[in-house]
């Protein structure tokens, strides 16, 4: 596609009047003053509709009996490009492999979503969530309990067969 250039026709200085230009400008602002096109979102009251593929802080899915779905396979700390996941696996009393320690440093995290993509049991998810204010920095290291407590909706994965999907 060729680049088109729009040539602006500007009046000669002798033909311009500052006051008239200023008055037409004021007419424009007055139109907006009395009939504003409101784009501001009243945030805490009005919540944003997050994109279905928005990637925010993590949450861990749990089984019906309250156990984490994670089987401590170690793929997420392996794939994590920011190296923000710490995982120590172990065995619970029913002989299931589970994470004894599962920590995500949300400050190091770059929210690429690869942990969710790689998870074989759909346990760890990035969430459609962004309200992360805390009073101390160490609160941003989410441990397993914290991750399991999260209730925000999870992110939809990108479907390679439908690359333009939302």
């Amino acid at each position: 596609m060729a680049i088109s250039v729009k040539v602006m026709e500007r009046p000669e200085p002798e033909e311009t009047s500052y006051l008239r230009a200023a008055l037409s400008g004021m007419a424009l602002t007055f139109k907006h003053l009395i009939n504003p096109v409101k784009v501001t979102q009243q945030y805490p009251e009005e919540q944003t509709d997050l994109h279905p593929r928005w990637r925010g802080t993590h949450r861990m899915e749990v089984h019906a009996d309250g156990r984490p779905k994670c089987v401590a396979c170690g793929l997420c700390p392996t794939v994590c490009p920011a190296n923000c996941i710490r995982l120590v696996g172990g065995e619970d009393d029913q002989g299931n492999r589970y994470p004894i320690v599962y920590e995500i440093d949300e400050f190091r995290c770059i929210f690429c979503g690869m942990c969710q993509e790689v998870c074989p049991v759909e346990a760890i998810h990035v969430g459609r969530h962004f309200e992360n204010a805390e009073y101390t920095r160490d609160r941003f290291v989410y441990d397993l309990d914290r991750l399991m407590e999260q209730e925000h909706p999870t992110t939809l994965l990108w479907d390679p067969s439908d690359p333009r999907s939302e």
Binding site: E15, T16, G25, T29, H32, L33, T40
Partner: protein, 437 residues
């Protein structure tokens, strides 16, 4: 009815001072909120709406914040002037209000109270004198901060205000000629007598005064002294907390005062259409006007008339405040040379010419024996309208403000013209900087 006197007069005076000061400060406070909300609406935003209903407590929150903030005092600043400067700035902005009549006289059981704090005989001269004092606060603050940006801001403030005071004074001359007096009460009375507010018979003076008032109160597009894109925040760069707040109060106080002044000089002050509310002290009597035979018609002061006229005055003042804010969020800041060019090369000659035109017109009308009144005003309106049209279509065209690109083109035109004048081609190179203005 008799004017109030004795102890009740002193009580009334104190009440007026306190009341007006309170109202003025409230208006100033809410003008800051209005500025933020109106700017937001103009820009399709919402503005501050969190503190209180519709953000109405925002000015109070700002005030508390400013009181609690840290007072900074630069180590190299001149302590005395640094502290003094904000006070010098804030005082003239507030005291000017003393000579502005805000409503029709109020009838009380102890006599009639003039709704003006001080009806001094020098009126408008007092206004001019005090408002020109405000610049000292800015220059002093800028200098005492020992900061180059603040200093430059102070310098700009002084140069700009000196320049525009000339235009301001010249635009007042037609008003004074028409009124024949300098007190503001007389000006309101004369507008009541004419039946037309001076904005129409003296339309060009009104435009010049409006522009000069913007420049005098350092509002956009004339806020060169605190141009934040060039000078951080200009003269108050080093100020914080309440000292900064004082500068802000002074700026908004100046706006309110200038608005009230414009309302009084050109929109009839507290006057409303019709003669029912007219009131003036004529030879010790409160009169409403003169009958056909020259006898006086007595005015009938009433508390509701005072209230309604005070409302009218308030609406007019607030209208000008709105214009201040509206202009600020519409027009970009001038370049400094444009400010100076506008002041000296457009406003000054226009003001002079218009003063002469009005003088000739008034003299001619008096000579042909036309009485002061509605017809008199219509004639003046016609003459002034022609002058205003001429100003808009000829003087303003290409002279008032021209952008840098337009100026370059003008220079190129001039250079071509200069070459045409030198067909011999004697090798003289005409540099762009050597031509033009």
């Amino acid at each position: 009815m008799e004017p109030i006197s004795g102890v009740p007069a002193i009580v009334a005076m104190v009440a007026k001072v306190l009341g007006l000061f309170t109202i003025l400060m409230l208006v100033v406070a809410y003008a800051t909120l209005a500025e933020r909300r109106i700017s937001a609406w103009i820009q399709d935003r919402s503005g501050p709406n969190r503190v209180g209903p519709f953000g109405l407590l925002q000015p109070i929150a700002d005030g508390i914040k400013n009181f609690l903030k840290e007072e900074t005092l630069p180590a190299t600043a001149n302590r005395l002037f640094f502290v003094l400067a904000p006070m010098i700035t804030i005082t003239p902005a507030l005291v000017v209000f003393a000579v502005i009549p805000v409503a029709a006289p109020l009838a009380t059981p102890w006599g009639v109270v003039d709704m003006i704090v001080a009806d001094v005989p020098i009126g408008i001269l007092y206004v001019l004198a005090l408002s020109s004092l405000g610049v000292y606060g800015l220059v002093l603050g800028g200098w005492a901060s020992n900061n180059k940006y603040a200093f430059l801001g102070g310098l700009r403030a002084s140069a700009q205000m000196v320049s525009y005071e000339v235009a301001l004074g010249l635009s007042l001359i037609p008003v004074l000629m028409l009124v024949g007096n300098v007190t503001l009460t007389e000006m309101v009375w004369q507008q009541q007598q004419m039946g037309i507010w001076f904005a129409l018979p003296l339309s060009l003076a009104f435009i010049l005064f409006l522009i000069s008032a913007f420049a005098e109160s350092n509002r956009l597009p004339f806020d060169m002294p605190e141009a934040e894109s060039e000078l951080v925040t200009g003269y108050h760069t080093e100020y914080s907390s309440m000292k900064f707040s004082q500068y802000m109060i002074a700026e908004f106080g100046h706006m309110v005062t200038a608005s009230a002044l414009m309302a009084t000089l050109f929109l009839g002050g507290w006057d409303l259409p019709g003669t029912w509310d007219n009131a003036f002290w004529h030879e010790g009597q409160l009169i409403r006007g003169f009958a056909e035979d020259g006898s006086v018609l007595m005015a009938d002061a009433a508390w509701w008339k005072t209230l309604v006229t005070f409302g009218a005055f308030g609406v007019k003042t607030l209208f000008f405040l709105l214009v201040y804010i509206w202009v600020r969020w519409t027009l970009p800041r001038f370049r400094y040379d444009q400010v100076m060019a506008l002041g000296w090369k457009v406003m000054l000659p226009t003001g002079l010419g218009y003063a002469m035109l009005m003088a000739v017109t008034i003299l001619s009308l008096d000579t042909v024996g036309m009485t002061y009144g509605f017809t008199y005003g219509l004639v003046l309106t016609g003459v002034s309208g022609l002058a205003t049209l001429a100003f808009l279509f000829f003087i303003d065209r290409g002279h008032t403000i021209a952008g840098a690109a337009a100026l370059n083109r003008q220079r190129a035109h001039a250079a071509r013209h200069a070459r045409g004048d030198n067909p011999a081609g004697d090798g003289q190179v005409v540099l762009p900087s050597a031509v033009g203005d």
